[in-house]
């Protein structure tokens, strides 16, 4: 109390005011500085994709569209060419959409049961989900090869060297987390809404489909975007389980291009990368707030 009284009577000197202003700007300064390396990386990506020469890393000296020529002609590799970017893009889209569809379907079904039904073992399944989410599936790569191998043998459907097969693996790793998120959304839908559906004569599936699903849109949007992006950016599973060139995705193509053009043609690499991360940037800019809410742990790996 005393100290407070004292403060009130001492007129702030210029120095004290300056100090307080400084104290207020320090957090901004620190945060801005901390963001600088990140921003400079992306700025470089943008600038060098547009120019044949960059000064000090960021200032484009000569603008050119040369770096983007991969859009209309395949990138030459001696007398042959790397695969067409559009084929890779199509593969990436197929892969990402497969992951997304699987995740949304399976997670929504599971999330519904976990949120809305009472049954023995429900608690244990939730526990299991946490454990699975924390568990590093990536350590099991060798064994997963054999799972896909046995699946191929058993069903005569290609699971190896197939985008669909790898999508199944990727989706499975994303599903525990997504089921968790979507369960939270189910929890927020009042029971009464569901009851009214039953009173109207719906069975559980109809209730799920007609009444609950529409209310779940934000949740579904969130896990869709997340699983789509997870599929879009996927590298290591594809790198290990895709053997033929026609199944390569953008991440594999870029990995090959980095191996070849590193040190010599950053302009090309920057342009291809920018092309690749375009959907990521779009989602990032337009769905920031939503993403922030469900981001944590949403993507696993080296984090």
């Amino acid at each position: 109390m005393n100290r407070r009284e004292e403060r009130r009577y001492v007129a702030p000197t210029a120095f004290a005011r300056w100090r307080r202003r400084l104290a207020r700007t320090v957090p901004y300064l620190f945060l801005s500085l901390s963001c600088l390396p990140i921003l400079s990386m992306y700025l470089w990506l943008f600038m060098s994709s547009l120019s044949s020469k960059v000064l000090f890393g960021f200032i484009p000296a000569e603008f050119t569209s040369r770096n983007w020529r991969f859009l209309w002609e395949p990138i030459q590799m001696g007398v042959t060419a790397h695969m067409s970017i559009w084929r890779a893009t199509w593969n990436t889209l197929v892969f990402a959409f497969s992951v997304m569809l699987l995740v949304v379907l399976v997670a929504t079904l599971a999330g519904f049961a976990l949120a809305r039904m009472q049954f023995k073992g429900r608690e244990s399944i939730m526990r299991l989900i946490i454990v699975l989410h924390a568990f590093p599936g990536i350590t099991l790569l060798i064994a997963i090869f054999y799972v896909l191998y046995f699946l191929t043998k058993a069903t005569h459907i290609k699971f190896l060297d197939s985008l669909w097969g790898v999508a199944l693996v990727k989706a499975s790793l994303e599903i525990p987390w997504s089921a968790w998120i979507i369960k939270g959304f189910f929890d927020n839908i009042p029971w009464e809404v569901e009851w009214s559906a039953y009173i109207d004569g719906c069975n559980r599936f109809q209730a799920w489909y007609k009444v609950i699903l529409p209310q779940l849109k934000p949740g579904i949007a969130a896990i869709s975007i997340f699983s789509f992006l997870a599929g879009w950016g996927e590298f290591i599973y594809l790198y290990t389980f895709i053997f033929s060139e026609q199944n390569q995705t953008l991440s594999l193509l870029i990995k090959a291009l980095i191996g070849e053009f590193r040190f010599t043609d950053y302009g090309l690499l920057a342009a291809v990368s920018l092309f690749y991360i375009f959907p990521v940037l779009v989602f990032f800019i337009f769905t920031q707030k939503g993403l922030m809410r469900v981001t944590v742990g949403g993507i696993k790996g080296g984090r």
Partner: protein, 301 residues
């Protein structure tokens, strides 16, 4: 379901599929297929000496003996410890600073902007993120770092482990940041106001009120990140590939290289097996320490 049958066999209890089963079936199927079966397969594989020939040739504990006589292993273990601890320090420390600064010290929308920027590396596909670093660390005068210091330093060769720590730290810090900022925001405004009325400085509030309240999130971020750092190698594979000469090779990457580069699948599985056991232990410990409910809250952000 079918009343006729029930009528006919009076003693038989009518079997009804519990309503939750169809909903959980796909989930259970995939989890079994890609979590449980792989764990079992990995255990089996680790007892074989499977190599390029890919024969299931069971040799008992040979791969594990090999693990203890492998001359690279001590180096790899040391790298792993340094890598995990140092990255953890960045992830937790920097995440804490960012989390508190962006919520307590600046207005909400400004904080949101900064947090969004920090999330960018996490959202970026790994190959592109790796490319950004390869450019920053490029040994020629075109690399960003070399441009800044005006010298030609080959960073990935001279400081491979440092590079790996930095690369992972920049992605990892955002995890702590999000958890901590959510926790700070959930602290009742009254606590902080009361302290302000008492004339506590900002720093005092952070030290006396905020950090003590962040105890659980801190522990959570630490344990969670330990686990994911132990298992992660994607960025390392892309940036240094463990080199030069195993200087940045960590445990999980060594398992990957052993299996998929040297094609020693059995030995690779044994190396991974030890990691799997460690991962299971840490996860169970987390469940035990935090308790299920708190863990759910923490994971939920």
């Amino acid at each position: 379901m079918e009343p006729k049958r029930v009528w006919r066999r009076k003693r038989a209890i009518p079997f009804r599929i519990p309503p939750h089963v169809p909903f959980l079936l796909p989930f259970a199927f995939l989890v079994t297929l890609f979590f449980f079966i792989p764990v079992i397969l990995n255990i089996l594989l680790a007892f074989t000496d499977m190599d390029f020939a890919m024969r299931w040739n069971f040799v008992g504990l040979e791969s594990y003996f090999r693990f203890f006589t492998d001359r690279i292993i001590p180096k790899v273990l040391l790298n792993t410890v340094i890598y995990v601890l140092a990255t953890l320090a960045i992830n937790v420390g920097f995440g804490l600073v960012l989390g508190i600064l962006s919520t307590y010290y600046v207005p909400e929308n400004v904080g949101l902007l900064f947090r969004a920027i920090w999330l960018l590396p996490r959202m970026t596909p790994p190959v592109v993120y790796a490319l950004l670093w390869l450019w920053v660390l490029d040994p020629t005068e075109y690399g960003l770092l070399n441009m800044l210091i005006g010298q030609r330093v080959n960073w990935t060769m001279q400081h491979p482990l440092g590079v790996v720590i930095l690369v992972n730290g920049m992605v990892g810090a955002s995890f702590g940041m999000i958890i901590f900022s959510a926790a700070v925001k959930s602290i009742p405004r009254d606590y902080i106001m009361a302290a302000q009325v008492d004339g506590a400085s900002n720093w005092g509030i952070v030290r006396r009120i905020i950090i003590p309240l962040l105890r659980w999130p801190l522990m959570f971020v630490t344990s969670w990140q330990t686990l994911s750092l132990l298992a992660s190698y994607e960025y390392i594979l892309l940036v240094t590939d463990g080199g030069p000469f195993y200087k940045s090779e960590v445990w999980s990457l060594y398992a990957y290289h052993t299996a998929f580069s040297h094609q020693l699948y059995g030995y690779g599985a044994a190396i991974a097996m030890i990691l799997v056991v460690v991962a299971i232990i840490i996860t169970l410990l987390m469940l035990k320490i935090f308790g299920f409910r708190r863990l759910m809250e923490l994971v939920g952000g």
